[in-house]
Symmetry: C2
């Protein structure tokens, strides 16, 4: 199947501040986004894809002259792919607070008293709901009054769910993959350790490291290594690395690499520390921690989803995902069923843990394809289809 | 049930160097140990208890004037307790490389060229087998030619297993709780992240931080927080902390404590960094990584245990232990059964994860009590018992 080809990110500026859940506001800001496919005449074929922790607006295609710049969900989104860009107009938006172009901690603080220095640790704490609000403004500016679907995996799935609660009239379908109705204590615990690793790195400088010409690379590396362990299943790590050694001879060293899994994790940590912003890591993990739509309803998730009663949902989970296990998706399914919502649920027997949502699994992609075909059939008159 | 009461640690010095698996040797060294109960006339009632990562020789009882100094397995070891000190002579030994009194990285390097400075990062890498060798020398000096049993949990269980492979003639029973025949890739991964957090802390100074009057507390805290997550089950963390907040109001902060689980983990990390040695942490996690008795037999664990054919074993695992899951204990049981070894195996349905081996669970302690009673009956003539 073909890729969407070379793509170009676009920018949209918002002069009106964005009110945030915290009571603060984000002063005038810019969102970077990409689109793939063609918006149809009645603007009914738009699908918003929300990104997770370290992803961005760059979902599909590549940047001209950068052959290794494939979008993070390129296997799912493209012409003839499960989310078919011959049929759908797909939108990816970099969330504010992220570090891939939209206004974030590395951009100048708008307060003149700050002398043009970066926000750093003063970037306001943003929530999943704040991101959805920012996305909704951009979608509105594109002239789209109702999205065919909002799709996301992991933290992206939380955003897709939040759309149905916040703007139920502005979407028809919600596709939430490998997600959860909130973080468990263990999920929060892993986030907290990662954050401690970052903020206690002396190069963090209280979040204002930009001025010092350094980044808290040590903390970011540790944070990413922890994250990676939780993205992979125990089994897939065992299958991929097991106890494989770098060399047959035992090195009897506490610091040299002995096992391939160590080499892999260090490499992942190193790469991450070279491109990811530390303040963004804190902001995004905190948005994960805070997400809890049931909270405003005394912990009753079914009550929370009452407002989304006439939406249609697809939930997908993966058997070996121990970060957001199938049981967490089933909690959402139950809340939807309690509201007699039309919900499809697929539990995919896949070995790859949480990462499975990004991988090309025939059963998983088959479910996604079938669901988007169903959405498409409700958009395009049969006779008009290729 | 009574405690063993006030206890006093003892020291034993070894002038003869200990040859290590690495080919290096440990120059003259001291081991700190404690004993509880009375060695019988024929010295047949001795039980060695091996310690895990952050424990020590101080298994039971307390230190005079220190009411909060209970030994780490005080609920199991004492008069009338499952490992009954009215019947058994129990020995706890602090392993070399640890930081509770036996020769370790904070002790002076024996090379005169080092000018009396601590070993630090130059402490030789020690393995589970090296520890067993050191323990065997001490046991021999006590005049005990055959232990009634060697007992240990987690890393301690690995030592108990190694005893049966290394000194099969010097013990009759092996009791290995919540352990594994080697670390999985995921286990190694968690160890590696913890080590990276420590060695990249600028206060680590390449392992020679003692001279700088600092400790790599940031790294130790993160290491301990990671460890703690793996010691608790997802369920018990959820039951104990869930999403409980410190206060009802949302703080909208990335660094302040919002959730009780964060407070708990930070506290555990803080405490640990105040008493545990960073070099010891590296050494002990590496000993865990290296342990792999099947390796010398081409990965065949059954072949490894052939030498232990006439020993008797009790293996215990806990259903919610995801660090060393029941499946790992079953691998050991299978290897023993392959050798027609007499092995008892109990899989305890306990909610507490890996930590369960340290907790007082009636079913678990019932199994331990019954097994040690059986050992006792083979020591003491029936008529002679109380």
């Amino acid at each position: 199947m073909a890729s969407v080809g070379a793509v170009t990110p676009q920018q949209m500026h918002f002069a009106e501040p964005l009110p945030l859940q915290s009571g603060a506001q984000l002063a005038d800001y810019t969102l970077v986004y990409e689109t793939y496919g063609t918006l149809n005449a009645d603007k009914s074929n738009a699908v918003l894809v929300c990104h997770a922790l370290n992803a961005s607006h760059h979902i599909a295609g590549h940047y001209a002259g950068q052959p290794k710049s494939d979008g993070w969900w390129d296997n799912l989104v493209g012409p003839g792919k499960p989310l078919d860009t011959n049929r759908f107009f797909v939108i990816g938006i970099n969330n504010p607070g992220s570090c891939f172009g939209s206004t974030g901690p590395m951009h100048p603080h708008p307060d003149p008293a700050k002398g043009g220095r970066p926000y750093g640790a003063d970037f306001p704490v943003v929530t999943v709901e704040d991101w959805v609000d920012a996305q909704a403004r951009l979608v509105e500016r594109l002239g789209i009054t109702q999205l065919a679907a909002v799709l996301g995996g992991s933290l992206g799935g939380m955003q897709a769910l939040a759309w149905t609660l916040r703007y139920p009239e502005r979407l028809r379908h919600c596709v939430a993959v490998a997600t959860a109705p909130n973080l468990s204590a263990q999920n929060i615990a892993f986030n907290e350790v990662a954050r401690r690793a970052i903020v206690t790195d002396p190069d963090f400088h209280g979040g204002h490291f930009y001025a010092h010409g350094v980044v808290p690379a040590r903390g970011l590396r540790v944070a990413r290594m922890i994250g990676h362990i939780t993205y992979l299943s125990d089994d897939s790590m065992e299958a991929k690395f097991g106890r494989e050694r770098r060399s047959d001879a035992v090195g009897y060293s506490t610091q040299e690499i002995e096992f391939q899994i160590e080499s892999y994790l260090r490499h992942q940590g190193e790469k991450f520390s070279e491109y990811f912003d530390a303040n963004t890591y804190l902001l995004i993990t905190r948005a994960l921690d805070y997400f809890d739509p049931a909270r405003a309803h005394g912990g009753d998730l079914s009550a929370a989803f009452k407002v989304a009663r006439d939406k249609k949902f697809l939930l997908v989970s993966f058997t070996t995902d121990w970060r957001f296990s199938p049981a967490r998706s089933r909690e959402i399914v139950k809340a939807l069923v309690d509201n007699q919502v039309e919900v499809s649920y697929a539990e995919i027997d896949a070995p790859h843990g949480h990462d499975a949502f990004l991988l090309e699994d025939p059963r998983y992609h088959g479910v996604m394809r079938a669901y988007f075909e169903r959405i498409d059939q409700n958009i395009t008159p049969q006779g008009a289809r290729a």
